[in-house]
């Protein structure tokens, strides 16, 4: 043994319920599934060998017969573990190659396949068909313009994401040549952990009534992105203040009316409303003066 291996220090169980393993959102979902709380879970076993009835939104400004939006019906053979994305892919590959939607990773990582499924924003690849009532109604995300079929224009969403300067800013970053690490404390890492999980799917923004009525509202995802950096101890106080100044503008955190719709739809279980509320309090604290 040439290298000295240090015994790892014993660790306290972290506060975060997800780390403690008391009940993570995933466990909650599993529990709900087992106890039959999810929509129509009884039919789970009965779908074997049957077909799934999809109603898919269709629209294409460039095709004569599709300029009027309509719903098309597809009957797709069910397979164990089939997701909504699997189902629409089958429909596209076998029935209608013009059926258009975005997808890439198929494992809830790339964020390209958020749809409006049975009245709720969900990731196609993360939504099991057995959990849904039939017919499964699949629409493009509401509150975004439809380009074609299930494809919506995401430009505005991306603009809002970029508006909060979503990159690390610190003058004290060591020069790359020094090969120094810029360490973050484990506690601070835990603090921003959930906020760092965003996959830019846009489900939250689409679910938000306020964002629907106020096009300039930054929206939950962008505010959450700002939270990730504002709460990072390694950035200086001055930069945190700069970030709060962006967030407390007219169309920033104060537009949030705590409807929790974003938190409910986020496929990565980010506590968006909680983060927005915390930033509201930070913004107030910064402006409070007792003199």
């Amino acid at each position: 043994m040439s290298t000295q291996q240090q015994e790892p220090e014993t660790q306290e169980a972290p506060e975060d319920p997800e780390m403690k393993g008391t009940q993570s959102p995933q466990e909650r979902r599993l529990e709900e599934k087992e106890s039959g709380l999810t929509e129509d879970a009884d039919s789970a076993g009965d779908l074997e060998g049957e077909t799934v009835h999809l109603k898919v939104f269709r629209y294409d400004p460039e095709v004569e017969g599709k300029q009027e939006p309509r719903f098309d019906d597809f009957h797709v053979p069910f397979e164990k573990g089939m997701t909504v994305l699997d189902a629409v892919m089958y429909a596209r590959d076998e029935y209608d190659s013009s059926l258009t939607f975005r997808h890439s990773c198929r494992q809830a990582v790339c964020g390209s396949d958020a749809f409006f499924v049975n009245g709720k924003q969900r990731l196609g690849c993360k939504t099991q068909i057995v959990e849904l009532e039939q017919p499964v109604r699949i629409e493009p995300l509401p509150h975004q313009e439809v380009v074609k079929d299930l494809v919506v224009d995401m430009d505005h969403f991306y603009d809002q994401m970029h508006a909060v300067e979503p990159y690390f800013q610190d003058e004290e970053t060591p020069a790359a040549a020094d090969l120094e690490e810029q360490r973050q404390s484990p506690e601070n890492r835990e603090k921003i952990k959930m906020s760092s999980r965003c996959i830019w799917c846009g489900a939250c923004m689409s679910s938000c009534n306020i964002a629907a009525g106020d096009n300039e509202y930054l929206g939950p995802a962008a505010i959450n992105k700002a939270y990730k950096f504002a709460m990072d101890d390694r950035e200086s106080e001055a930069i945190k203040e700069h970030r709060l100044r962006i967030l407390e503008q007219e169309h920033g955190v104060w537009r949030c009316q705590t409807q929790f719709s974003c938190t409910e739809v986020c496929p990565k279980d980010i506590p968006l409303t909680e983060h927005i509320q915390e930033l509201k309090r930070e913004a107030v604290k910064k402006n409070l003066k007792f003199w």
Partner: protein
């Protein structure tokens, strides 16, 4: 991209069946808040008849000469519709207060994971209090 399809506002409101607890809480809170403001004005209008009464103004109520303040209030309270509206006002105020406390907790970041349950609790409590108030509000009114 040559064209895109905007589904517009009508479809937004058409989605009300898909609203979640927090969205309903927000709508009800707005509605009840503005109802209370509306009541405030009628309240001031009725109470301000006391100014007239202090100056000796009178009116006829059930062929009796009474001062204008007493007359206005007794006249209104004898109407069944006013009693029903009072029950409604209580319901609106109770919901606004309970959900207002819920919103204060939400603003303080307390119990955020139970926000839907606290909304349902506000609704149920409002219902119970409203029903319990009916006998009090409807005593001695001729139909």
């Amino acid at each position: 991209m040559s064209q895109s399809y905007n589904r517009g506002l009508i479809e937004d409101f058409g989605r009300w069946k898909e609203f979640s607890a927090g969205m309903w809480a927000w709508i009800f809170h707005k509605f009840t808040g503005w109802m209370l403001i509306g009541y405030l004005f009628t309240h001031i209008a009725v109470l301000s008849t006391a100014i007239g009464a202090a100056q000796g103004e009178t009116m006829m109520l059930a062929s009796e000469q009474v001062d204008v303040y007493t007359g206005t209030i007794q006249g209104l309270e004898s109407l069944f519709i006013i009693r029903v509206l009072e029950v409604g006002l209580l319901a609106v105020a109770v919901f606004h207060i309970l959900n207002g406390l819920r919103l204060l907790m939400v603003d303080l970041g307390i119990g955020l994971t139970a926000q839907d349950k606290s909304f349902y609790a506000s609704l149920i409590l409002t219902g119970v209090i409203t029903v319990a108030s009916v006998p009090t509000f409807l005593t001695g009114v001729g139909l």
